[in-house]
Symmetry: C2
Subunit: 200 residues, 2 copies
C-alpha cells in the first residue's frame, strides 16, 4: 500500500497532475481505482503524497551533499552536476517533477493546495542554496559584497532551465557542459559581485 506511491510517482512525474489519469495511476500501482481512493482520498491528496515521496527520494540526498562538501563553490558545482545526472537518468522520467508541475501553475484545473506545495518545495530548494552561499560567504569563499540572494535565484533558474532541457531530450554531456559554463560566474576577485549592472 505504501509501495504503491513508488509506482504512482513516475506517472505523475511523466504526465503531470492533469495529464495523469487515475485509471493510469491505479494500473501502474497494480491496484484498482477504488483501492487508490480508499488509501489516499482523492487525486489531489495522492499527488501531494507523491510529491513528498519525490522530495525525500530524489532531492534529499543532493541537499545533504550540498552541506557535506567543504568548499562553497565545489558544493554548488557538485549540486548542479548531480542534478543534471538525476534529470537525465534513464531510470526515471527526465527533468524535475517540481519544475514540471510549476509550468502548469497557471492552469485553473490545478488545485490550490498542489500549486502551493509546488511553490513551497521550489522555494525551499532555493533557500537551501542561499544558505549554502551564506555559509561560503562566512567562511571567506565568497566576497562579503556578493549578493547571495541574487546568486541563489540565478542557480535556481539554471536548475529549472536544465530540467527543461533534459525534458526536451538534451544529452547529459551537453548539460554538464552548461553546468560548467554556469559556474563561471562565481566571483573570484573581491568586488566582482558588486557589478550588478554590467555595461551594455
Amino acid at each position: 500500500m505504501d509501495s504503491a506511491l513508488d509506482h504512482v510517482l513516475p506517472v505523475f512525474w511523466r504526465d503531470g497532475f492533469d495529464g495523469a489519469s487515475v485509471q493510469e495511476l491505479a494500473d501502474a500501482a497494480g491496484v484498482s481505482k477504488p483501492s487508490l481512493y480508499a488509501a489516499y482520498g482523492n487525486k489531489e491528496a495522492l499527488y501531494l503524497a507523491a510529491l513528498r515521496r519525490y522530495a525525500e527520494l530524489h532531492m534529499a540526498d543532493r541537499v545533504v551533499a550540498l552541506d557535506a562538501e567543504a568548499d562553497g563553490r565545489a558544493a554548488i558545482h557538485r549540486f548542479l552536476r548531480s542534478s543534471v545526472e538525476a534529470y537525465t537518468d534513464p531510470a526515471h522520467p527526465s527533468g524535475c517533477l517540481i519544475v514540471m508541475g510549476t509550468t502548469a501553475c497557471e492552469s485553473a484545473t490545478l488545485p490550490d493546495a498542489v500549486r502551493a506545495a509546488l511553490c513551497a518545495t521550489m522555494r525551499a530548494a532555493a533557500d537551501q542554496i542561499e544558505q549554502r552561499l551564506l555559509r561560503a560567504q562566512r567562511e571567506g569563499q565568497l566576497p562579503g559584497a556578493a549578493d547571495t540572494g541574487a546568486m541563489a535565484a540565478y542557480y535556481n533558474t539554471v536548475l529549472a532551465g536544465l530540467s527543461v532541457q533534459a525534458k526536451a531530450g538534451a544529452a547529459r554531456d551537453k548539460l554538464l557542459g552548461v553546468v560548467d559554463e554556469a559556474m563561471r560566474n562565481w566571483p573570484t576577485r573581491a568586488g566582482d559581485a558588486l557589478i550588478t549592472h554590467s555595461p551594455s
Copy 2:
C-alpha cells in the same frame, strides 16, 4: 477568422495543448466549436497555427534586435532582458509558450507533430544565439577559443529557467537580477573560455 488565432493563442499559452479544451478555445475566439474545426481541421493543426503566430508575434522582434545590436555581449544581454520583460508582461500569460509546451513533451497524448514543432522552434532559437556568438567571435568580442556551442546552450538554458521562474510568479526585477548574474560568465580575458572543467 484570422483574428481568431489571436484569441486562441493566450488560451494555449496559459493551459498548454492538453489543458486547453476546444470548447474553451472556441469561447475565447467568439465562435462555435464546429466553426473552429471548419477553419483549422483539428486541435493539433490549431495549436501549430497558434505556435507560428506566437513565434512571429512574440519572438521575431527579439531576434531582430539580437542582430541589430553591434556589440555581442550587449546583444545577448539585451536579448535576455527583453525576454524577461516579455515573460513577465501582465498583458499575456507569463513565461514562454515553447518552454511551457516542451515540459509536456513526454506526455503520450501530445501529438508527434506538436512535439516536433516545439523542439524545432526551441532549436531555432538556440541556433540564433549561437550565430550571434559566432559573429561576436569573428568581430573579436569573444576569445577565439570560446566554445560558442556550450555558451549558446547555456544562454538557452537560462532562458528556459527564466520562463519557469516567471510562470511560478517571480517578480520582474528579481529576474532582471538573474539576467545580470547570468551575464557575468562572459569571457573577458582570453583563455577564460578554455576552462571547461573548473576545479571542484
